[in-house]
Amino acid sequence: MNLVADHLTLHRGGRPVVAGISAAFEPGRITAIVGPNGAGKSSLLLGLAGLLEASDGAVTLGGESLARLHPRLRAQAIGYLPQSPDIAWDVAVEALVALGRLPWRDRGTTAIEAAVAVLDLEALRHRPVSQLSGGERARVLLARVLAGEPRWILADEPLAALDLAHQLALVSHLKACAAAGQGVVVVLHDLAIAMNNADHVLVLKDGRVAAAGAPREALTPQIIAHVWGVTAQWLGEPGRLGLVTGV
């Protein structure tokens, strides 16, 4: 069931932030959305999640307009992971993960147990969220999304504020989700992580698609120079490429 943006235009605060983007996202793979600050990455993700009303064009899920889907059905299909949200109440890990079941209005014990197991949270389940490290917190927040068993996982910069080891760990969790057939769309800042881990890359500039395709086609030094204005080149072997920048 594809998630498709069709000539999608989005406004925030009266300003156009996404200008007529068309893109198709397929389940079972990781799509990385990259681009400079203010390119419209987070807005596009909100639009794909059905949380930002299209001022023109549409987002469709399996051919049906997302805007016309009941919010609860949409929530069952699409899990959205906001960028490092404030957690208002100092709840225990288990209660936070269980919030992921809200769209289903059930206890969802099996799904919660599975999410806790996949993200290795068994030892933390009774710990208050205020006592978690950054890496643990990121795992808990992802577990909340997984507990809802969504067909799509839309994550906004889930790696921000994580150290290298935790970044790689979270990426491998997202890869496992894609391998299990879920669609993963993730906004990333780190081009090397996108290059080495994504199946598909969407490069945004000024609310438009500057390049799209397999990582090696979409993240060439020419495109990086055009979009970010930075001279850069890839070094290393495929799958473990590093970006070297310089003037």
């Binding site: 925030r12 949380l51 109440w89």
Partner: protein, 332 residues
């Protein structure tokens, strides 16, 4: 029913007999009571106790819901401006009393207070339509803007109430208004219970229905919407729930402050801290607090009975200060 509910239900079960027996005249079950003790119990103490329970429950539940909605432990049901609007309606009854048909004269104050609360709710609903949008991604301003609008309503109602007081026709009316504003349960009867109880119960019911949506807000507005919460629907439920509980309370007892602020803090450590786990126990704890405070103001050896609203604010204000200091230390 969670642990906190059981604790406060048990406490309430102890407080009810205490409240029925305590007062200027003690009714002691085994000793020879005053000759008219049956009358005192049935027509004075019992309705007063029931009313304390109803009003306390409404304020406690409304406070828990407001703190959950605003994701702020300092939120209070008064923030939406519904209590000041109800008070304004009540004060207006001192002026408009003559216009009310004689058949309704005894009801003019509570009915006008309810009208004030209803107008406040309608104003909030209108503002809500302009500030919250189900799909605008915060473009409408959302919860913060709505709360500011509620505060404006509160100040406007407060100013109009003050104006009504300064223009009071005679000193007697003035003292009556001021006395009434400092809420109390003195000399309330089953009549007030019949008016306030159904409205408050309906309000608590609406808030309970909104509880899981309030939980979703723990992760912020966008995450809540991604979990299927419809912001406008939630806001309407909250305005209705808080309006019914607080409006009914003010209509029969005047302004009783701080219960909605204090009670959720007493309850929260006993629960998993999610708003949905707080609403029922906060209702029970609010009932305990108001019932206990009302019993205490009755037995204090003062010349005139200390007004319940004043007594509760005397407890509430220092607690609020302590809470602020504790939050500064990051202990909350």
């Amino acid at each position: 029913m969670n642990r906190a509910s059981l604790i406060f239900a048990a406490l309430l079960a102890v407080l009810v007999p205490f409240s029925l027996l305590a007062g200027r005249v003690w009714v002691l079950p085994l000793a020879d009571g005053p000759p008219n003790y049956a009358l005192i119990l049935a027509e004075l103490r019992a309705p007063r106790a029931v009313l304390a329970i109803v009003i306390g429950a409404g304020l406690g539940a409304a406070g828990a819901a407001m703190q959950g909605y605003l994701r702020n432990p300092l939120a209070d049901p008064g923030l939406f401006g519904i209590a000041p609007m109800a008070a304004l309606g009540a004060v207006a009854s001192f002026w408009l009393g003559a216009l009310v048909p004689p058949a309704l004269a005894a009801w003019s104050l509570p009915l006008l207070a309810l009208t004030g609360a209803g107008l406040g709710m309608a104003a909030l609903a209108l503002i809500a339509g302009r500030t919250s949008s189900d799909a605008a991604g915060g473009a409408g301003g959302g919860i913060a803007l709505f709360t500011l609008a509620g505060l404006m309503l509160a100040s406007l109602a407060g100013a109009l109430t003050a104006l009504a007081i300064t223009l009071a026709p005679n000193p007697f009316a003035l003292s009556e208004i001021v006395m009434w504003l400092n809420g109390a349960l003195t000399d309330r009867s089953w009549r007030e219970v019949a008016l306030a109880a159904p409205l408050t119960l309906a309000g608590i019911g609406v808030l309970a229905l909104a509880a899981r949506s309030l939980d979703a807000l723990t992760l912020g507005e966008e995450a809540a919407r991604s979990l299927g919460v419809e912001p406008r629907r939630l806001l309407v439920m909250l305005v209705a729930g808080v309006g019914l509980t607080v409006g009914a309370g003010v209509a029969v007892a005047g302004i009783i402050g701080f219960v909605g602020l204090v009670v959720p803090h007493l309850v929260r450590p006993l629960t998993d801290r999610l708003p949905s786990s707080l609403i029922l126990p906060s209702a029970l704890a609010g009932a305990c607090l108001v019932l206990a405070a009302d019993s205490i103001v009755r037995i204090l050896p003062l010349v005139t009975e200390l007004r319940l609203g004043i007594a509760l604010s005397l407890i509430g204000a220092p607690f609020f200060g302590w809470l602020l200091l504790r939050m500064r230390k990051g202990a909350l």
